[in-house]
Amino acid sequence: MRNLLVLTSAALLLALTACATQVERVAPDTVRDLSGSWNDTDSRLVAEEMIADVLSRPWLESYVRQHGGQAPVVIVGDVRNLSHEHINTRTFISDMERALINSGRVQFVAADAVREQIRDERADQDLNASSETRNAMGQELGADFMLVGTINTIIDAEGDEAVKFYQVDLKLISMADNRIVWLGQKKIKKFVEHNSLRW
């Protein structure tokens, strides 16, 4: 009986310890794949690689040459999620925007959601701010190019195993004449195996 009690107490102690929440702080760029789904690492790597690619292509030099050394103005439009997963495309778009701005090679303007806020503020300034300090309407910098894209998946799955193939397609479109000046594509393939047994 005493042995049984000791064993039971030990088991309870172990169970209680396992139940406690454990937190470990990691660096934001730490790669940690948990579920096999699209994660922050995928978003960051794809954004960095594709922005590096778009900025290294001839369209940029061509534009700068044609416009007396002026950098093009780029806006990031919609990135449509056509995949099998709920992907937060906003973080992906933010990663691309950061990479674009930090490159220093293009000028960057805010996308529609933020623009509306800014316009509301300008309208408010029109009414309430002093003439010396108010920012007038109709002075926005128009975008020369818009970056849009899609995230697609092909998934082959049976039972506990799946092969997940992600394809991110981006295109840079001229606002003047709808020409597509750059097409980028990034592929990620993952083999995911779930546990077939659990305790």
């Binding site: 009986m1 999620n81 056509l82 099998h84 039972g159 047994l197 659990r198 305790w199």
Partner: protein, 423 residues
Amino acid sequence: MMQRGRAVVVAIILAASLAGCVSYSQNMHRMQRLAMTGQPEQALHALEAAGLKHDEQLLYWLNKGLLLRQNEDYAASIEAFEKAKVLLRRLEAISVTGATGSVTISETVSDYTGQAYERIMLHVYQALNYLALNNREAARVEALQIDLLLRRLYPQTQTLPHGGDVIGRYLAGLIFEANGEADQALVSYRYALQTYSAQGWAVPRDLQQRLLRLSRTLGLDAEYSQLQQRFSLPQTALKLGGNTGQAVVILSAGLVPHRIGVSSVSQDLTTGRFYRISLPKLIPYPRTLQRAWLSTQQQQVTVEPVMALNPIAQQTLADQIPAMTLRAIARMVVKEAAADAVAREHGAGAASLVNFLGVIAEQADTRQWGLLPAHVYLAALHLPAGEHDITLTIKTAHGLVNKEFKNVIVTANDITFLSQRIY
């Protein structure tokens, strides 16, 4: 000393498994009653008060998701359903302790892992949540997840046994159609048609029209002719005006059959021991909806049944009964051996107690997603682009009920989704 300890442990486990089972049924009844009387918030309180039990986590999130949806808190419902999805993926792995417990102690010891048709309904209601928030892209993800689930679980047929996937395929088709993907929509509608045909169910007229319209739009002349021969719909039924859109209402009605345990007890007159087998049985609720129609000032269309969950649930259970019976027999053998061991060490009295607790613990698994509807209906109004007031009139045994959808915006060549839940 060890043997006495073993007997105590067995008694505790048996008693604990009994306690858990009784409380789930009571909680489910209470939640159903509150939901049926239009009190989803109180039903949520009842759900929270019952607490989150380890082996019923999935049911907790599924029920919470539906109650939040009924309360029109779509964002919170989405969150609850996403938790259910993560849990479902984890529960797909076979539980060693659960499997052991189900052949030694009780059917209810293992985690509830959900029926296949419940998993489809999870995606259906999640898609409807996203549509309510006008998030077409996310609803499309749910449509793809339905297809992925069916391909993964049933790679040969890509359909559920007994037609439990039909509403998932139908809704997926509507979502693709709304996203301007006629080709994808047609694939989903074909799967739905395949299920209606395989199950011997009437093909909804709305689905017939969509199949014909899309096959014609996509230039699939041979398929169009075949379908036209089969359905014999008048050409006027397929014509849509240039500036026309659709308002589609999905109506969930009633409750899935009530799942009870039916026990059979016998006694060995030589030993005095009792033996019990308890298996689940489904008792349908009376059908409440007699007829329903959608109307505007200019037109009216009757809602059509697109899925009945009662026969699906019944047939799914019938498939599972043989395995449940085998496990019940295995448990009887194990408990008999335990009682024999106790009898040898502590006498007939202690053995009788173990036998008694074993019999009481032998409870049927009555767990299910009890807030699901018994029937799903659908109707589509083809309306000129603009704002419309739409009335859903429901005729039940108690009379007529009107549900008003005010200021519904219909866009040309687009689908506006509306949904309603009645009991």
